[in-house]
Symmetry: C2
Subunit: 347 residues, 2 copies
């Protein structure tokens, strides 16, 4: 019996087109080497700037429906300076996160050996951020009146529901329980009292079911300080969509850069496929030159493998990446060469 996994592939814009093939190359090779009777069936989806320029389309409702039949989505990056800010972000990335109920945006942060941190004394860094992915300041609610006059008022409404917050918080407690039993929840409840107190109550309520997990609260501003002075303190962080966006980029920076940071947008209820992507963007400035680091896409492949139940495959990719990182000596390699080198280390 072969397990066939149907994967939607979306390289998107810029370096997305260079890193996604490497992510898939390593993933396919890892499956082969593992001897698992698994096979990936790939379906390409064209999303991004050129399609928008040609057709005015981002992701259509029909495509969103068609995406549902896949087992997972493997995404590159989206965004180009030629497209007005927000069009592809809201029309592609957020359309999928919201439409496919990606309740948890999972972002592991680990300082691998051999990787240089910008911190003088980084210590051991190994935590995951569970970022809520479907609400908060990302809903697009709000608007503007008297637009482009001196009397303009523009609002953004952060929407937070018990249902949405609980999905993320519960996932975070599960992960903390399986890891080092430390959960830090991050908000700004001294200022954003309505949403902040909802978060607090959800954490207290769900936390009662996980008596072994030690819970700690930090304001977002304080968390950014600890991220550079004491990142070893963290095991699992749970936070809202906007704070999570900021904190995970900072976390990526202190662990050696967004070139290495993978993420999963998880549908935790199993009602639609989850999506795996590097947290970096399309990087138009370096696109098309085969100089982008595909490591984040390769690690996103490992997250996807783990999500599909292919734990051995996931582990072997992580191990191959770790050993490649430990041996990096500054020699310049092309995007494809990094992919080849990591694939060659699989065993």
């Amino acid at each position: 019996m072969t397990m066939k996994f149907s994967i939607a592939v979306m390289p998107g814009d810029g370096i997305g087109n260079e890193v996604v093939p490497e992510g898939l190359k390593v993933l396919n090779r890892a499956i082969e080497v593992s001897g698992e009777p698994a096979e990936l069936e790939l379906t390409d989806y064209d999303v991004g700037a050129s399609r928008w320029h040609e057709t005015g389309e981002t992701i259509t409702d029909e495509e969103l429906e068609s995406l549902r039949k896949h087992d997972a989505i493997f995404f590159g990056a989206c965004g180009d300076p030629s497209v007005p800010s927000g069009v592809l972000e809201r029309g592609v990335i957020l359309k999928m996160r919201f439409g496919l109920s990606h309740a948890v945006n999972l972002r592991p942060s680990k300082l691998f050996s051999g990787v240089t941190s910008p911190l003088a004394n980084p210590g051991k860094i190994d935590f995951v951020v569970v970022r809520e992915g479907t609400e908060g300041s990302y809903t697009g609610m709000g608007g503007s009146v008297r637009t482009d006059t001196p009397y303009e008022v523009a609002t953004e409404v952060s929407v937070n529901t018990w249902y949405g917050v609980e999905r993320a918080v519960r996932d975070a407690f599960e992960r903390a329980q399986a890891r080092n039993k430390k959960l830090t929840y991050v908000h700004k409840h001294n200022v954003m009292v309505h949403a902040g107190h909802l978060w607090r109550r959800v954490v207290e309520k769900v936390g009662a079911e996980y008596p072994e997990v030690a819970v700690n609260y930090e304001h977002t501003d304080a968390c950014t300080i600890f991220m550079v002075t004491d990142p070893s303190r963290y095991d699992v962080i749970v936070t809202d969509n906007l704070f999570g966006d900021i904190l995970t980029d900072l976390a990526a920076a202190v662990t050696g850069g967004i070139g290495l940071a993978a993420s999963g947008n998880l549908n935790v209820e199993g009602t639609a496929p989850s999506l795996f992507e590097p947290i970096h963007g399309s990087a138009p400035d370096i696109a098309g030159q085969q100089i982008a680091d595909p490591t984040a896409s390769i690690l996103s492949g490992a997250l996807m493998a783990s999500h599909l139940g292919l734990e051995v495959v996931a582990k072997s990719i992580e191990t191959a990446v770790e050993s490649d990182l430990a041996d990096r000596d500054g020699t310049k390699r092309s995007t494809a060469e990094v992919g080849d080198a990591i694939a060659a280390r699989l065993s």
Copy 2:
């Protein structure tokens, strides 16, 4: 002729009570040494946790009115775990920022020589953040329904006006023009399109009046990366209330910690007094032990002096602080000893 400046003094909670006297000690001594015919007339205001416990009051409307007659406010810190989160923040700190139109929250970030940054290669760091202080996610607008049920919805409304954004942006351009002519405006306009595009239009419009200033945009998440990988790139940063809160704590961390970071909450229209405070909080864990570093309060005194037109006084405090910092060798000194040492260096 003596210039008498009427200063409202609010030590507040925790270490506020220890650092504010040092800030005033150094400021008074600096005025004396400068020979300026200036004098501070101090009026104490009791704000904070103990008053709230005794009377249920934060800052009353009468006090807010009475504050208007002062030339400036010298603030310590507010907050205590015994008070529900948000009560003192909204009732004292934000009540003044909003009620006295503190349009600009000015936060300089400088890595002084002798100070250790957590970054391995910090380079030269010397920038100021102009944080909008009267709107954004700080208005308190929003609320919750079905509170504390599984069907709860809680919202926070970020309110942004052309008027409010322009005040901050104009101030930032003025500072950039007087400094190194580089302005970075930070937002998240790819997601928060309503507010983000208002910010963009205001920056473009006001920027046309400052053709010499080079303007650059960064997403907030990207800015946190550069804050740890390349903070030397910044000269003046302008951003909204919430992003500014986060970025200035991070900036304080990379320049050696919030023990050193001063700030001014500026009424840029001259309709009410401005307020000067360390960016750190009341630090209840170390309060009452005379171990808090008063440097941020002392530097806040310098910002206040400069605001009152006492440029020589301001400069002499900064110089004294710089020379004290350069000579710090890890010897433990009490809060008052640091104040004394800096006062003794004034000339």
